[in-house]
């Protein structure tokens, strides 16, 4: 169970980028975090993980998050990661092993086999010796997911994993994420494409700096909640929902 209590993030000391958000995710789920641009979705995740200064607390299975940090995986927006860094695909994936390693423990042959298995699962094994800068956006995202795979975290935070990636990569990643959920993990995903929300997520957290709604997708993915979050620029056609820019 993930319990987020009163998370507030203030950037300039005056206004809140995330304002007193609290919610609870009771069972292993694929959770979509929705909200308009500037709603504070990524900031909220960083605030929850204390990657940036924030107020409030978060508990995972009743333990403060700080005490279970090794069970947490976080994948930042891929645009924030240095694509040009001299690191190969297999090395990048192997970073996922670090939380389980002791300070001076080396990566063993068995570990490298795990890396290969993870890369095979995201269909990236043939690229293992390439530098990450040689990959497409979708391939790089798959590598980051492979890294999460071997990290064996119970609580996974992904920030906009589907931005700028191809359909094949999106499908492969979703299959891995369904697998995570079936293994009892909770996956929190910052997402902006409303058209696939019902297909992808079991639960939703909708925010616009403050919490708008939280719960099962079928209950909270409603026109009313979306209008509260996105304003009247939201259009609803049957079961399809789209967000238009505010003009």
């Amino acid at each position: 169970m993930l319990e987020v209590k009163n998370i507030t993030v203030t950037y300039d000391g005056l206004s809140n980028a995330v304002d007193n958000v609290s919610f609870r995710i009771d069972q292993p789920s694929l959770v979509g975090i929705l909200g308009p641009n500037g709603a504070g979705k990524s900031t909220m995740i960083k605030g929850i993980l204390k990657l940036i200064p924030s107020q409030g607390e978060t508990f995972y299975n009743n333990s403060p998050l700080k005490k279970v940090q090794k069970k947490i995986a976080y994948v930042e927006q891929k645009s924030a990661i240095d694509y040009t860094f001299p690191i190969t695909v297999k090395e990048c994936v192997s970073l996922g092993l670090y939380p389980s390693k002791k300070m001076f423990q080396k990566i063993s042959t068995a570990d490298w086999k795990q890396v290969d298995v993870a890369l095979e699962k995201v269909r990236m094994l043939e690229y293992k010796n390439k530098q990450i800068g040689e990959l497409s956006g979708g391939q790089f995202q798959r590598v980051l997911i492979a890294r999460t795979l071997i990290q064996r975290a119970d609580l996974i935070f992904l920030d906009e994993p589907f931005v700028g990636i191809d359909a094949t990569s999106e499908k492969i990643i979703m299959n891995i994420l369904y697998g995570f959920r079936n293994l009892g993990k909770t996956i929190m995903i910052v997402h902006h494409d409303l058209s696939k929300v019902e297909q992808y997520f079991d639960q939703l957290v909708i925010i616009d700096k403050r919490l708008i709604a939280c719960g099962a997708t079928k209950d909270v993915f409603t026109e009313e909640n979306l209008i509260r979050a996105y304003g009247s620029s939201i259009i609803v056609k049957g079961s399809e929902k789209q967000c238009l820019p505010n003009l």
């Binding site: 940090q69 976080y74 930042e76 690191i87 090395e91 970073l95 300070m103 530098q131």
Partner: protein
């Protein structure tokens, strides 16, 4: 010319000291420089190398070894820069600019106040030909220590350089590794001061690393190549400096820059020349 250099090496102890010191500094600067450029901290390298100047002056005033004062001031500059960046809306490069220029100015004033025999010109631009035995051994000792720390903490430095947010999320103390790197940078800056001086240290740190970056796709290979280039350009630069009676520090830096320039056009990553040829 080459024979004259070899003869000089056999005959003069000061040239032997210069060769060993310059090579060791080239190697260690090349290694630390890789982390500096990959973390986008080239300006920080410049700042710390300038910031050690008042430390050197204070050491002379207090009669201490100049390493102690230089390291203290280098770290102080790094702490001030990080504090300003983290606790205000002022951008990092602005914080660096303010800090390093102030420290440099303070250093010049303190050296004047100290009225010591220290030659400001040699501190600013180095004089590797004047390196004494003690300084040589100190340089070797510190360089071995720095390289050992990089080897021991390689995976931690790798992950905190590549994806610090991921590292922080699973509980790694990212700030501790930042300051560890600042300590290493300060140590290298102080040792390199003898070779190229505080003004040109940044070139020793970033030019071989930037050249190595153009050829490699793994951090470990980049560090090895950068160290090799740092050592080799130091030897070549010293040879040119000695042969043509020009400042050895500047000659080392120019040699390194020429290697970078050639690599910029021919390295596989750049492929500028290849693209140009293909487009004709």
């Amino acid at each position: 010319m080459f024979t004259k250099f070899i003869d000089g090496l056999i005959e003069y102890h000061f040239l032997q000291n210069a060769l060993v010191t310059a090579t060791v500094i080239g190697i260690v600067s090349g290694a630390v420089g890789c982390f500096i450029i990959l973390r986008g901290m080239s300006l920080m390298g410049d700042a710390i190398s300038h910031a050690v100047l008042p430390g050197v002056a204070v050491s002379y005033i207090l009669g201490m070894n100049f390493f102690i004062g230089a390291i203290a001031f280098g770290l102080l500059a790094s702490i001030i820069i990080t504090f300003i960046s983290n606790n205000s809306t002022i951008k990092n490069d602005t914080a660096i600019g303010i800090t390093f220029s102030s420290f440099l100015a303070l250093g010049v004033i303190l050296i004047g106040v100290a009225n010591s025999s220290t030659d400001l010109f040699h501190i600013l631009f180095g004089n590797v030909l004047a390196v004494q035995d003690f300084d040589k051994w100190l340089t070797i000792g510190i360089s071995v220590l720095v390289l050992a720390i990089i080897a021991i903490f390689f995976k931690q430095l790798l992950i905190t350089s590549f994806d610090p947010m991921m590292a922080k999320a699973f509980g790694m103390n990212v700030n501790a590794y930042h300051y560890l790197l600042m300590i290493l940078l300060t140590l290298v800056s102080v040792t390199a001061m003898q070779s190229v001086g505080t003004i040109l240290i940044v070139a020793m740190l970033i030019t071989p690393a930037a050249t190595a970056y153009l050829y490699t796709k793994r951090l470990s290979s980049m560090i090895l190549l950068s160290s090799l280039l740092g050592g080799a350009t130091s030897v070549i630069g010293l040879f040119i400096g000695y042969s043509f009676n020009i400042a050895a520090g500047s000659s080392i830096v120019i040699t390194s820059a020429i290697v970078f320039l050639i690599s910029f056009f021919i390295s596989p990553k750049q492929q500028i020349l290849r693209k140009k040829v293909l487009s004709v």
